[in-house]
Symmetry: C2
Subunit: 111 residues, 2 copies
């Protein structure tokens, strides 16, 4: 058998892919980053505005944005001296929402 695309299957998942997968989830596993992601789900925003909104340093935000940018989760758009960041990956919202649903369902004790 070769490939049963989609759905849950019992095929072997390579170590490489599992590693990438854990690396991918890492982006969502930090409070600052997930707050940034949540903000960007509503639309693009400048670095300073993000920092102000989260009440954390500009540098911290910039460092995290670099991480996300390097991995193509966010995309910068320069307008004059301000840089606006937006989500660069359509799947991010889905991952975020899937996790969020889990948390909320658990909280409300809904199976």
């Amino acid at each position: 058998m070769k490939s049963t695309k989609g759905k849950t299957n019992k095929e072997e998942i390579s170590l490489d892919v599992l590693f990438e997968l854990s690396e991918f989830f890492k982006f969502f596993s930090d409070t600052t980053r997930i707050r940034i992601i949540e903000i960007l789900l509503h639309g693009e925003m400048s670095v300073n505005d993000i920092a102000d909104k989260l009440k954390i340093g500009q540098s911290a935000v910039s460092h995290q944005l670099r991480l996300l940018r390097t991995s193509h989760l966010v995309r910068p758009r320069r307008d004059g001296r301000t840089v606006f960041y937006a989500l660069d990956d359509e799947h991010i919202g889905l991952i975020f929402q899937t996790g969020l649903n889990h948390i909320l369902h658990k909280k409300r004790a809904l199976p």
Copy 2:
């Protein structure tokens, strides 16, 4: 307005929930843990068998399992001296698969 359950909405998400969400994604953000989770997606398995299969120490596996058990992601079942672990949360498969699909799509350059 009170609550628009489900789907994507633009309601405020509390800091607490965002924190919990990042904590939840943390379980998937380590190679060892995600490999354990992947194994358990196929069904329950004993601690030693997991360690053997992953070729890592029994202690390391046990430590990670405790973490997952404490957070109710896995559930132990004792049979004699061996303890079998199984996934204890129906949403785990969904999260895993959602992330996996993202990785695979990205790899195959399918938008």
